[in-house]
Amino acid sequence: MEWVYFGTCIAILVTMVLAVVRGVVGPTIFDRVLAVNMFGTKTVLFIAVISFLSGRPDFLDLALAYALINFIGVFAVLLFFQSRGVRRAAEAERDAGK
């Protein structure tokens, strides 16, 4: 059974590497946000599988905490882009008024 856990961990790690590559390469910023989000859920799975692999299931609290926190960043990104239009309009108005 341990080898199955190890194999799953390797699959998750390879996906993490692919997500990081997308985060580094990705031409638009949304690709990078997608990479962060995906990396977050893969971290949750990685922690869950490793806690079984090392025989210490009381470490699942970390996975639970991170599953709850992961999407706050994406909401902040959405808010950031939403307010960007208004911010740019305000800047343009201020620059025009100067």
Partner: protein, 162 residues
């Protein structure tokens, strides 16, 4: 009984690992942002479900399967919401999905275009991407375009005031 649980867990974990890997592969190879989001969000939730259920079978009758069920529940709720929020942010910032515009319904904020594909990129890869995602993406702006112009119309007077 134990061996049965082990076999079931192995099958679920291997399938989950495969899903997760396919998701990562899709994020690398897909040509465009929305298709990458599609690959990432589907396999995130599906692979997570398989892996967590496979681990739950190994947990026995302790608190551990309950915690795994809680993790799965929260991932199930928040991962699609995060994809929605990201797609919305991308749409608000003007990233266009690759779609053919034949019905006259437009991407929010643009004047109507009579015919022809919206993207003018001519690589073969983009054309194949257009063909495969055209059906899905053509439905997507149609649904959003009916809601968005109403909001944009409400937003535009507010913008003009400032």
């Amino acid at each position: 009984m134990d061996i049965l649980l082990d076999i079931a867990s192995t099958v679920l974990l291997v399938t989950g690992g495969f899903f997760v890997f396919v998701g990562g592969f899709g994020v690398m190879r897909m040509p465009e942002l929305y298709t990458r989001m599609h690959a990432a969000s589907l396999t995130d939730t599906g692979g997570a479900a398989l892996i967590l259920v496979g681990l739950m079978l190994q947990g026995g009758f302790t608190l551990v399967p309950l915690k795994l069920a809680a993790i799965f529940l929260f991932l199930f709720l928040t991962s699609p919401t995060a994809s929605y929020a990201l797609a919305n942010a991308a749409l608000l910032s003007g990233v266009k999905p690759p779609c053919r515009n034949e019905t006259g319904k437009t991407f929010p904020g643009e004047p109507p275009v009579a015919d022809g594909p919206k993207q003018s990129k001519s690589s073969a890869e983009k054309r194949t991407a257009n063909k495969t995602v055209a059906g899905k993406a053509a439905r997507k702006p149609a649904g959003k375009a009916t809601r968005k112009p109403a909001k944009k119309a409400a937003r535009k007077p507010a913008r003009k005031k400032s």
